[in-house]
Symmetry: C3
Subunit: 456 residues, 3 copies
């Protein structure tokens, strides 16, 4: 029996290539770009932009506790229908406004009945004498911390930065695509926002996580690895992936507008087997930090001809679009068929970037992370942060899409051909950017049909 052991042992000693011991790294996180709580550099960066903070449908008759960017807040709706987003503690004695009452003019603290308007004004301090000068002064000079909000189409957005720098609310073209039906949804992640966001600039993971590893979670054609091209245009980043699926060429564009707006192509409507011209994203989505180690996706699912099939217009359908699997699964199911949640949460509460080894296919990720670091430096140096609008006063043009062209393989070097098709498609989109919105889409679609026709 000693021999059995020694035989095995021989193999081990000859293999001096076990690196476990020498590669135990002390945990280090990239604080500058990961941490978003108040007073952090990246937290300040996030506070220069509008973000969704809740589904409208989650705000009922009682105050709703929310945590955004590491701040404990309360979201409420007055009996007159106005929405307020305020600090959680009452500025009198720190009682929690979660236990407040929603009234016509605002929210009333449970402890001593102070009444606050949605913008933080102290309307009443009823426990104090009506002629009290001290109370009058407090009402005039003090405010409950509050943030401006806009409710739109089932999502509540807030701006949590300095009020003197409040930017325009960015209205994206995808907020109102004709014939598209939208459904607001929220999905939470138990990890830092950055590892959730990274996936949008990583179109390659779809070919593994959502295809060969877990079985086909989206359409089958996504298993193909395509030709990847990255575009950096101000704070907009595009990752186009051009695949060959039999007789078709499939150009899919993932989109990130900093700091956290994301779009892609369809999750289920496109599979590379029949033509599609400038189909739009299955989601219009923001990755919003809850705190340093928790985040959430707040989004609309987009359904219809140019979006995803109507059969997915329900809670489970949106979960499938968001991460490839429904959320409520056993540990065994999660281990056998991991989704985005398992991939990104498995990295730990905050992924240690210093342990990563980024590859050529990860250049979208490197690019946008570097850009955030640059913007943070600019912000520290007093610069105004660039906003998404390309044309002042008009909806932001977005580029996330699917196009599938019937183009049989002819060339010897098909990879090179795919790359040229990919860049031609993007060129058309960029050309049309300054057209009025209704003209733009028609222009792009016509041009794509022309390309397909000219080829055959």
């Amino acid at each position: 029996m000693t021999n059995t052991i020694n035989n095995k042992y021989e193999k081990i000693s000859s293999a001096g290539n076990y690196k476990g011991y020498h590669q135990v790294h002390a945990a280090k996180i990239d604080e500058e770009i990961s941490l978003i709580e108040p007073k952090t550099p990246c937290g300040e960066f996030f506070r220069r932009y509008w973000h969704p903070v809740s589904l409208t449908s989650d705000i009922g008759q009682q105050p709703l506790p929310v945590k955004i960017l590491g701040e404990d807040l309360v979201l409420f709706r007055t009996k007159n229908g106005k929405i307020g987003l305020v600090h959680r503690q009452c500025p009198h004695r720190n009682a929690s406004l979660i236990f407040g009452k929603c009234e016509k003019r605002g929210i009333r603290c449970c402890y001593h009945g102070w009444l606050f308007a949605p913008d933080g004004q102290i309307i009443e301090t009823p426990g104090e004498a009506s002629d009290s000068t001290a109370a009058k002064n407090i009402r005039e000079r003090l405010r409950l911390g509050a943030y401006p909000v806009i409710e739109y189409n089932g999502l509540v957005f807030a701006y949590m930065g300095p009020p003197e720098e409040i930017p325009d609310f960015p209205f994206y073209d995808s907020f109102s695509i004709p014939d598209i039906i939208t459904r607001p949804y929220q999905v939470n992640y138990n990890c830092n926002w950055l590892q959730v966001l990274d996936a949008i600039m990583d179109p390659i993971h779809t070919s593994f996580l959502h295809s060969t590893i877990s079985g086909t979670q989206f359409s089958e054609g996504l298993g193909e690895i395509g030709e990847l091209e990255i575009y950096e245009r101000g704070i907009q980043f595009l990752g186009s992936n051009t695949r060959r699926v039999d007789n078709h060429v499939w150009i899919r564009v993932n989109e990130l507008i900093l700091p956290n707006f994301t779009q892609a192509g369809a999750a289920f409507a496109a599979d590379g087997t029949k033509s599609r011209f400038f189909g739009r994203s299955s989601f219009t989505r923001w990755v919003v930090p809850i705190d340093n180690t928790h985040s959430m996706s707040l989004a609309w699912g987009n359904f219809g001809e140019r979006g995803d099939p109507l059969q997915y217009n329900n809670k489970e359908g949106c979960e499938l679009i968001e991460q490839g699997e429904v959320i409520n699964r056993t540990w065994k199911e999660r281990q056998l068929h991991p989704s985005d949640a398992e991939a990104v949460e498995g990295m730990g509460p905050i992924s240690h970037h210093r342990n990563e080894h980024l590859m050529p296919t990860d250049r979208g990720i490197s690019l946008y992370r570097r850009r955030i670091k640059k913007l943070i430096k600019d912000l520290i140096n007093g610069k105004i942060m660039p906003q998404p609008q390309q044309i002042p006063g008009e909806a932001v043009r977005t580029n996330g899409q699917d196009t599938i062209l019937n183009m049989q393989q002819k060339k010897v070097n098909d990879r090179k051909f795919l790359r040229s098709i990919g860049s031609n498609v993007l060129k058309i989109q960029f050309e049309a950017e300054k057209m009025s919105l209704d003209k733009r889409d028609q222009y792009i679609i016509n041009k794509l049909k022309e390309m397909e026709k000219n080829y055959s």
Copy 2:
């Protein structure tokens, strides 16, 4: 659709008064007065007084783990009936005495059988040779950390300070009021002791939390806001609140004796609609720190003619007296009808005093906190802490009470009238303080009846 958004947005940009961003304060707690674990200034202050540590009924045949002032302790009763309060770890090898055996002479450690007397003496070390000098030395020189305890009427009290400075056990007049039936109770809070204690010097919260906000939790008259007067008398603080309820004037006195003894009037017996003369507190209560972020109320509920109605003499009744609601409630119930627990726990584990804005009605709170800080300074400077006894060897006179006098409104300035009645009532109580206990109560009651009679 762009217009809809821009209209909303106009309103926001014109309202430059959102203060959320500029009022995000870094969390800071008032360590000096909040922290009570060993070696902290306020912990030392607490350790100069007797405190209840448990209900007697919780001590069974097995040792009971308790945590008091941040110390892990074990409470046990020998088979001879003596109660011991000792450090949790055995001084031999640190095994937990939670697993010890209660015997006639003390508690025996489960690991090596060492036997400890309630006062910490090591009686046996049976694993060591009977002639071992080392073992003999240890038995003679070492002790298990122990604290003196007194069991009284269903509560166990302990003194956890330096034994050489042990004060008299303070016997309060309310320990034995003729015809009053007492019931010991315990209610735990998930927050620092100070925010639980604050409420006793804040009689105004009753008019909101327990009335207009949650619906009437105590008697209806408590919804009225009265005339508040604060008395500081050594380490005793009184907050008298004098309300008008139709034809009656209701003088209610809340009481705090430092560091943590509290009394008030009745919770249910008095509602301002019929006469009452020197009714006594619904509870005789201590707010005891478990650790820095947990605390408990250990108390007797007081029932009978001069206390609360006998129908509340049960577990749920004591919970209602303690915080206005029973403890076992759903989140929804807690949000709709918050009680003291929601008000004080909602401030967080330790309330950030620097974010408070104290008002004229909070002067009781300001006063007593300042006094504790002063006492802590005195203690550091070597002074002996003042104890509650007014007359050496006699029961402490307490002043928490309800008096309701039939006095129809006559004067133009009724608020001023209420204030004068309030101070007259307190004056009578103070005059009687040095009388023998049985005479005192009769004297006060007679004087109050006289006041009522003289008025009409």
Copy 3:
């Protein structure tokens, strides 16, 4: 009633010996010897030895997350049957290999499909272009952190130290005792490894914890306190305990080989009432640190003539052998009948050695702890750590055992007699150490029989 209180109080003030206040120690742990996470001195010491890390039976078709010495690892078996122990995060983008797929050649990451061999080699990076130089370089130069493993008889062992210093896998004589049936088992502890290990050098606790306190958990004779003798032989420590049980003398030897290998006598087979000659340990066991505050016992239970009765050859039987009670018990049962788990976990996450008072019977514990500290210093000074092998290339001779000799009490000083018998038995064992394994056992048994015979 005041009198009652004062009477009690008199007793307290006269007893100035309550030491609770003066003995509140700030928590201090012995970091040097307790902490085993990466880069700690004791962690480095542990990383010079082979340790079991899992039951083979726990490795199924999916990867198994394990934590050893504070490192998050994944244990897996390839479809070809090879076992790998690797760092948990993929070196590409930090995805968790818990969600990897076990294939013929290794484990494949769920996120981008990288394939790793059990020794950490990167076999495939399929998302990168097949002609990518960057990808080729990464595959050649980078490795997933991995550790060498050996599977033996139901346990998986690993070496987590510097590969250039890998020691021989130590094969102990007890791995293959003729006629002994072994059963691998694992029991977890919620505390630092050291307090679990201490018990093996503390044979006295058996007479209390496992006998008089909890009732007889092992055999009845263990309630007797015997004559204790400690032997330090290199990194091997032996604690022999020689008891008188009526007409028999029972010599039981507990054994520790640093850092964490333990053996003893039988748990149930021996009770001191009939002769037994060189019976072997009920377990062959390692105390393995999970992290600084959690540990586990990985072991074989040993059954048969020279081990424990076959009726204990099941999961519950092994739990009884390991700690005196089954694991799945209520709090009430645990408090009434504490086992080793309660004794050692009750010390807290990491026992504070500075609060201990070690006694003469604890000298085994003092000795071996001091030796570990010495070895840690040697390691820091560049010395090679001594390994358990006494004879190069041969199984390690172990000495844990039970011997019971029929020797009626004759002498006046029976304690002295017991001590001499104890040391004679150990002398015989040591004499036989260099014999071939099969001869050794027969030699010892014959000599013991002779001793018994010569006495009567």
